[in-house]
Each structure stands twice: as C-alpha cells, then as structure tokens.
Symmetry: C2
Subunit: 432 residues, 2 copies
C-alpha cells in the first residue's frame, strides 16, 4: 500500500483510478450463445452446462424434494444466522415502502404515485467454491416485499449437478419461486429470452464474472433492465485518532480478500495511523487463507494523508467509493458532507462485513465510481412508480387555459383541442 | 384504426407490437463523433454545428444577455402559463422527497438512507419547429429540487444561431446553470466526455431522434447514466359507457400528432363506443394542421373490444402503455388492477395533455413496454440514495456471531476476522 502525503487535486484523478482489467471483447461469444438459446432453448442450455460446468443434467429445474433435502443439510446454527440476517434485511427494506400522497397541485387537480412490483425478476448467483447465499437474501427479500410474482434464480451446478445447500436454503426462506441449475452467459440468455423451462424476466440482478457482465450488458440492449453496471468491489476508510488501527486493518483486509482486483483506500490526517494500520495489516494477513488474493488487492491500494478530515471527505466524494467507513470524531455530524458513496459505515463497531451480511442494508452497491450517478439496490429496484392524476371539471377549468397556451406555443394543436373540446362542453352546460 | 373483437391471448403479442422503425446502425457514426470531440473539443463541436445546423458560431455558450433578451420576447401570457405549470410540477415533485427513517434492525444496529443530489446533469432539448420548453420544466425542476449543482442544457441552434426564446425562458425560470447551442450526437458526446466549455455530466436526460438515442446508448456504455431507454410515444385509452367519445377521440388525436411512429390503442367493452370514437376522430381530424402525421400514426393504431373492462385492463398490463387514460365507471377503484403503465389519467376531465404540460406529473415516461420494468422520471432520477449504518458496541455483540457464521460459510475469513477482532477486544474489556 503506497502512501501519498497531501496529494494535490491534479493527482486526484490518478489516485482515484481503479484497476482496469483488460477485458476481452466478449460480444461475439455472448451473441452466439444468445442466438443458440433463442433457437434451441433447453437443448442448448444443457449443452452449455455440459461444456462449461462439466455435468450432464436431465432437469435444469431444482425440484421441491431437492430443495427440502438440501435445506436439511444446512447446520442449525447457519440456518439461524441466515434467519437473523433475513429478518434485519426485511425490516430495513420494508421501511423503504413509499406511502402514496395525493397532492392537489391546482384546485381540482390531484396527482399521486403508487408503486407496483416488477412482475418477473431474475437473480444470478455465481458458482465457485464459496456459496454466495448472502446475495440471495439481498435480492430475493426486497423482491418478495415488493410483491414480484416470479422470482427466478439461476446458479451453475457443481460437478455432481448440485447447487450448494445454503443457497437453496436461503432461496426457500426468501420466497424464490423457481430455481434453475444454469450459469454463465447461458443463464443470462435464458432469463432474457425465456425458454420452455425458464421464464423471460423483466429485470436481471446479481453479480458475476466478465462473461456474466457482458451478457447482462447485452440483455440491457435487448430491453431487459439490469440492477447496476458491474465493477470490482472497493472500500475507502476515513480514519482519525479516534480509530482503532487494528479494526481499520481488519476492514481493509476483509475488502481485499474479495479478489485481486479489489481496491482499498485508507484516508487519514495522521501518518502515524498509516504506520499503525500497515503494521496491523501485516500481522493479521499472516493467518488469512486467501493471502495471495489479498496481496494482489493491496498492490492496487493506497493510503492518503490529508491535513484535515474534511479534505479527506472531499477526496472520497471524488472517488465515490462503493463502501465508505467513516471512523472519525463525531462521525454522525459529518455525514452531511458525504455526497457520493454506495453505503456508509460509522464508527469503530460498524465493520463492512456487518452490512455485507446481516445489519439490514443491501450489499449490492455501485462500484467503479458509479456511486456518483447510481444508487445501490433497494426496494425501489423491484418496483415501478406509476403516476396517477385526476382532474375534476373544475380542475380542468382552472388549468385548461394554461395547457392550451403551452400546447399552442409548442405547435401541438390536437393537444390544445383535447382541452378546448372539454371546456367548450362544460361552458355549454352539457356537463357539470 | 382496425377493430378487433375479443382478441384471444394468442393474438395479444401481435396486438401489443409497436411499430418497429428500421433504424440504421449508427454505432460507427456515433463513435467517430465522440472520438473527434474527445480529441478536438470545442473546435469539433463548432465544425459539427456548422455542418448539421448550418450556422457558424463564435460562442456555443448562451450568454446572460441573450437569455434576458430572449425571455423578454416571450409573451406575458405564455410566461404566466409556464409559471403556473412550473409551480404544479414543483409541488408534485417536492412531495417525492424521501424523509429519512432510522431503523433499529437489531438492538444497537441502526440503518437508514439519505438522498444526495447527482452533482451534474445534462438535459438535451431537440430543435425543430416546435420548441419543447415543457420538457425543460419536466427535467430542470426536479433537478433543482434535488439540489443538482450543475444543470447543463444543450439544444441545437436555428439557422440564425439562436435557441427558441421559450426554451431559454423556461431554462432561466428553473435554475438551469449553463446553456449551450449544440445538438445531436455532438451535444451528447460533449456532455459525456466534457470539453473545455461544456462540463462532463453524471447523467443525461431528454428526448431526441435516432442519432441522439444512439449517442445516449453509447454514453451509457461509457459510464454516464441515462434517464430511460427511448421509443416512440403512445397512449392507451380504456373507455366504457361513462366516457364522452368526443373527448376520447381528442385524446387519441393528441397522441397521434406526436409523430407518424406514435401509437394509440382504444380498449372498450362496446362496439358502439368504437363507432362513436371513430366518427369523432374523422370529424376532429379534419381541422388539424398535422393531418398526414396523424393519419400515419392511426395506421399503427387499434381498437380492441373486450367483454369486460377488467379483461381490457389485463391487456393494458400486457401492453404496458406509456400513457393510460382510464375513463370507466368508478375508475379510481379500479387502479389497483393496473400493473404496468407510465402515467395514468382518470375520468373524463383528465386529458393526457394535462400531464404533458401542467398538472404536475412528469411527462418523461417509459415507452415501448418499458413500463414493465422502468419508472418514469421523478425526483428519484436526480438523486442517489445512500445507506448508512451505525453499530454500537452492544449492537456488534448482538449481531457479531451471526456475521461470523455467515462469513465462515462463505469462506471469507477476513470478513469474519473484522468482527472477531472487535468482539475479542470488547470481551477483554479494552472498550465499552
């Protein structure tokens, strides 16, 4: 982790740079798999599953029996932990429900909006050694609260043709309606286009490697909404003397273990803190199993020392971190200064892993400086907000002349006429 | 307008089809203009303005003097109408402000979210004969309420090098911070990349032709957020005997005059209503100036007769119209059935043009069935919602074991360690 003292604003763009992974242009691969699945459906899906996941499957759909059996394999302790996390996530996302307010903008003109669930959503959960059941909670719980009718989950099977029991347990607990053993580009293609088995979804959620990311981008071009643009995970910690350097070190490491392309940034107003945190990182790192991953991530990471915490927050706004830990004196009174961040953790006891798993906030967040223009996943991500309006005859009489004038000025005569014809009948006394 | 009696669900996909405009692949054109503007900035902008808009400009930025002068050219009546509309739009969008609620999900674990304005937004307003000042109101007013620091507006100049006075008046009224005389792909490129003159924006808003649409898609690939995927405008009217057929006809025509690619759909439970509406359309159409446009739009349009209004609403949900007028008995009690729509107008006096201009709702709405998975523009479109959390030491003690168990099961040891190291110190009595 290289240290920079009082970097000047000219240096900021370089210091805010993420590691750019030279991603292969996967467009052609993605298109050809989409075309194949559009033409041959389940047959093509099974072929790709055989090829990429090394397993021949009769049925892609996970049966009720399989789910029950798998759930029983999850230890009682882990079941309880997942339940606790699920309750917190539910509580927080339920608080995001919007209460409809009817506004009378002009006398007799009433406007309001109401939320409606997106009908069918698709959740992609990557395979690999670690089962990301926490992401199932983060996506299926708000979908369930929103009232999505179909909550589809796709995840690649292991060599034995199974999905990890913890994923199935979490899916069952959170109201996922259908689960399919299919991964990669082919899973995204199936949910985008629909097959005989797998329903076409309205919106796609979930993380994935560069193949999945490319496939989601292509899906978006075809009209399927997606949760967020993708990028490697990142953490920025702003710490002053009130921090415990060992805690800070543990948080930076928890982010670094996500992948070699992760980035962690430490911002402080004291060089001493940098030394202490660096020393603690060396010590804690020694016992971690994913050392090579952590070391690779730390190579892309930086410590920045600013004269004031306020200047540090300015840099943080420029960087727009996915996760921001603010462990400074009087942290809660400084949050007004925060402009760009995915999720913010305040004080010594709010470690990032609390939000990753169980505090209740969502862990699907904007990376790669997208916190400047995107929000993380929330209940909002699973609904559309529809506006409604009702004008009474009086309301139209009050507002009509305004509309007529504006329509005329925009040279839209039929727009004007829609008002004029009504006002005329009202004036004639045909209505009241 | 062709009529269909009780179309079967098998026919619905065909009946819900929008007119597909064979759009040229503009990717290469878009990329080359973006590249040129990235390299040569204002010089390239001026070149394209000369080429596409036929005018040579010294300054692309509209000066304060020009704005003042133009505003004075707008008639007092139109100024007042714009002000009235602006007040209603402000009132309704202000009601969309979210009040932050702090939730204690577990004892000692506090989660909440707060909105922050997107810093810099770009508004594109097309040129042409009709000045779309109403779109300025719809985009700049919520941006101002959100607190966006820079509200940039680009619009192509006319042959004399001017932007329509009504657009400048609306921009001045609604807090637009900078206005530039630049249009088309080059305007979108300038706002996406930034030039010496024009700031790089975080999010792009506004309508446009296929060139602008392609450029916005490309901007999105480069990381700039956009308001909505584009498509031709559309209206679906559901009417029963309680409707006034002349009013319905006027609404269908107001939609049809937008463009030859617009679509209008009439749904009713009575063939008589179709005849009456069709007759009224013929009559009203005769006096409209944009007759050829209207006729072209009506060619893509349909009347569907269902046995019940409820069935008609089902079709409407399948179609997912941008605008939906519901003029049926007891309309307000039927809105619970509406699942997919951009904006809904209830009863005989709620004509679409009210929402297009002045009632207060936004007119930037999802078209082309995107109402299934996208909301229209609202205050939400101009903010990010950042989550915050604070765990007290007790909070971490309560939730810590849950996080540790989940992190272990996901094989993320450093995530577990971030909790363990804190719990250990608390147990040692180092903190309280």
């Amino acid at each position: 982790m290289k240290t920079y003292l009082n970097p000047s604003p000219e240096q900021w763009p370089l210091l805010a740079q993420r590691q750019t992974v030279a991603s292969a242009d996967l467009n052609e691969t993605v298109k050809s798999i989409f075309n194949d699945i559009e033409k041959r459906g389940a047959k093509a899906l099974k072929k790709y599953t055989q090829y990429f996941d090394g397993v021949t499957l009769e049925n892609l759909k996970v049966s009720e029996t399989e789910i029950e059996k798998a759930a029983a394999e999850v230890s009682a302790d882990l079941q309880k932990a997942i339940q606790t996390a699920a309750e917190n996530i539910k509580r927080f996302h339920q608080s995001q429900k919007e209460i409809s307010k009817k506004i009378e903008t002009t006398s007799g003109v009433f406007c309001w909006r109401e939320s409606r669930a997106i009908n069918t959503i698709g959740i992609y959960i990557p395979g690999g050694t670690a089962p990301l059941f926490s992401t199932v909670l983060m996506l299926a719980i708000p979908a369930q609260i929103a009232g999505c009718k179909n909550i589809i989950l796709c995840s690649p099977p292991d060599k034995k043709g199974n999905i990890n029991p913890a994923i199935l347990y979490a899916a069952q607990l959170t109201g996922v309606t259908q689960i399919y053993k299919v991964g990669g580009i082919q899973a995204i293609a199936a949910m985008t286009l629909g097959t005989d088995d797998i329903p076409k979804v309205d919106k796609l959620f979930g993380p994935g490697n560069q193949y999945v990311t490319s496939a989601k981008q292509y899906a978006q071009q075809l009209g399927t909404a997606i949760d967020l643009p993708a990028g490697p995970s990142e953490l920025l910690v702003i710490a002053d003397d009130s921090c415990d350097p060992e805690f800070v070190a543990s948080d930076l490491l928890s982010q670094a273990e996500h992948g070699g392309d992760s980035q962690v940034i430490l911002i402080t107003n004291s060089e001493k803190i940098v030394s202490k945190v660096t020393a603690a990182i060396e010590q804690q790192k020694a016992v971690l199993p994913r050392q090579s991953v952590v070391e690779k991530a730390l190579e892309n990471s930086r410590a920045l020392v600013f004269e004031t915490i306020q200047k540090g927050i300015e840099f943080s706004n420029f960087y727009a971190p996915e996760h921001l830990i603010l462990v400074v004196e009087d942290a809660e009174n400084k949050i007004g200064l925060i402009e760009n961040a995915g999720s913010v953790f305040l004080g010594n006891y709010s470690c990032e892993s609390a939000g990753d798993y169980a505090s209740g906030t969502n862990h699907t967040l904007p990376t790669n400086s997208y916190a400047k223009n995107y929000s993380g996943v929330s209940l909002d991500s699973f609904v559309k907000k529809i506006t409604f309006q009702k004008l009474t005859s009086k309301g139209l009489q009050n507002l009509g002349p305004t509309i007529e004038l504006m329509a005329t000025a925009e040279q839209l005569d039929a727009h004007k006429n829609a008002v004029a014809i009504r006002l005329q009948k009202l004036q004639n006394g045909d209505y009241n």
